[in-house]
Assembly symmetry: C2
């Protein structure tokens, strides 16, 4: 029998707290029976919820803590009050101790990032971790990062993001040499900010293994799936993600209104119901819930704070897949391999060439 996947959960994280966490875990355990859970949080709340799910309860260890990070805590506040004691910290620490293979939290992103970074450290040669997620496209899925783990990025960080994203795409999407695009604007005047241009030059000049640099992509290339990986810094990435989610919700509402508008369209809806259900599943932001923090010495999955049990289950399933496919070890290998190339290249002065070329200076 295969080794079970051991999943550590921040029982108190998220807008809806333990009910969504336990409900999501129950669903995930039903779908993937080779899972075991450790849930950290308020026993008085979580134990009765667990009691409603016998199969889950039999495979779950509940660890009590009265301390919870709030959704509006600043990272510094969260660390001050919750370091070594909160459900979020303890859930992350379970991964560090080797008691769990992956941790899932729907708690506040800043706090989760700060705690994960303090507890797990970043990988060698990576300065800052990034939040990556699978973005549904008309061609399938793409890996998009950074979706908000950090604000701003210099050229080297954008290159690191490219490497980590390509490693994730290689594993999760099964593509040997994923194409990587740098998110940029279509304004011909400037073609984006200096950092993005410099990163583009590095990626073009330094031949990295298992990564095909495509060039710049624009916002509409995300849904089109133009490249397997789309790289941007966290501010823009976060806004792009939420804009896409908002647009999907908006169109879903238009669709509901259109279908309810007349008797004819209601009849049409009945006939086309299965098609609508398939469409709904594709448009459901909960089915793609679950970001992966890349660049850390441990697998940390961030679920949306506002998700329900189904969405939380999706986040757990991403964690499950990532463990099963040994993403972390493979990223480590790729980073280390590319680091060799980058260092050789750096010695050869290729990185210095990343300074704006004279003919490209704005005039």
């Amino acid at each position: 029998m295969a080794k079970p996947v051991r999943i550590s959960l921040d029982g108190m994280g998220g807008d809806h707290g333990p009910s969504v966490v336990v409900g999501g875990a129950a669903l995930a355990h039903e779908r993937r029976p080779d899972t075991q859970f450790i849930i950290f949080g308020d026993q008085a709340i979580i134990a009765p919820l667990l009691a409603q799910h016998k199969a889950l309860a039999a495979n779950t260890k509940l660890v009590h803590t009265g301390v919870a990070v709030r959704m509006d805590d600043k990272p510094s506040q969260a660390l001050r009050k919750g370091r070594r004691t909160s459900s979020m910290w303890l859930a992350i620490e379970a991964v560090k101790r080797g008691e769990a293979d992956v941790v899932v939290s729907a708690g506040n992103t800043g706090a989760l990032m700060a705690m994960a970074k303090v507890c797990l450290n970043t990988m060698a040669q990576i300065d800052r971790p990034a939040l990556a997620a699978l973005w549904p496209t008309v061609r399938g899925e793409s890996v998009v990062l950074d979706l908000g783990a950090s604000i701003g990025a210099d050229a080297q960080h954008l290159v690191d993001l490219s490497i980590m994203g390509a490693a994730m795409a290689r594993i999760v999407l099964g593509i040997e040499n994923p194409t990587v695009g740098l998110l940029n604007v279509g304004v011909e005047e400037i073609k984006g900010i200096e950092e993005v241009k410099a990163a583009g030059r590095i990626l073009r000049e330094v031949k990295l293994p298992n990564l095909t640099y495509h060039g710049f992509v624009e916002g509409d290339d995300l849904g089109a799936g133009t490249t397997d990986v789309v790289v941007t810094e966290g501010f823009t990435g976060n806004i792009a993600l939420k804009t896409a989610e908002g647009t999907a919700r908006q169109i879903a509402q238009y669709l509901r209104e259109a279908m309810g508008a007349s008797l004819m369209s209601k009849i049409g809806y009945l006939f086309a119901r299965r098609a609508f259900d398939a469409l709904k599943a594709k448009m459901d932001p909960r089915t793609v819930n679950g970001g992966v923090f890349l660049g850390l010495d441990g697998v940390v999955i961030k679920s949306h704070g506002s998700t329900d049990a189904l969405g939380y289950c999706g986040a757990i399933e991403i964690g499950y897949d990532v463990v099963k496919q040994e993403l972390l070890g493979r990223i480590r290998d790729m980073i280390s391999l590319s680091q060799d190339v980058r260092m050789q290249d750096s010695r050869a002065g290729a990185l210095e060439a990343a300074a704006p070329a004279a003919e490209e200076k704005p005039d």
Copy 2:
């Protein structure tokens, strides 16, 4: 009889050139018969196209020029080769000379912006113009800016954008005191970049006329229509816009696939056809085609480069409405009014208070 609206067109701009421009103008003239056009461009190409549209031809002056700005010209190149001679420049100049009330171009954004700025200048007290557009929301429409006219923005520019956007919303959406939101990220750690935080403090502290500062909004507030105006700098704004357009196209494709998947869904489609048509119209990015450059001494409308005649007509209609409702004069009044308030406030030291407060410094 009301004064006709005189519209100047860059006949050579856009991916598809004159055929879309003339086709769009013909459609616009059919819908709004009180329009007159000046079209600048290659007579040998445009004259035969015009001949196919008698009503339009009777109300159009065609001015020949052999010089056209290319879609891939850099702004500096466009200015070097096209200043005073290209169809784009001449179309803008027609507004400056008072021969037209508004100019529409589907040409490249950077070149159009550069030429408009050189030819028309920016409004007094505004440093840089911005590209604004009406964003369809579940509540109606919101004004969103800057969609890519410039990259990066300091706090004062974000405040200027707020004022211009509110003025546009007041006129175009008919809202006396539009709500204004600053686009930001949901990461609790940092709550966005310093400039956005500083702009938020200014807008909160300085009470501007005809503008209700709402606070920060996120990407999904765009489609939700949380505020009447959403303000961001051009890099992020451009990526948000294109991401939303891409998502709409993506879902439209899902919908087509779902409806064609089975006989039942095809029958359903027949019954619900009218509802689908209404939905399609709402999702059609061409119907909201047409950005408005704000902050210039003249009205410049940017149509998407890749649009068709219907989309180009939409851009012309926005220009028509903006002229009819005297947007420019009203923005001037509002800017000047708010400038008084801002200067009083600046003397009182309120702007200095925009520096990060000690307790908000990252620790």
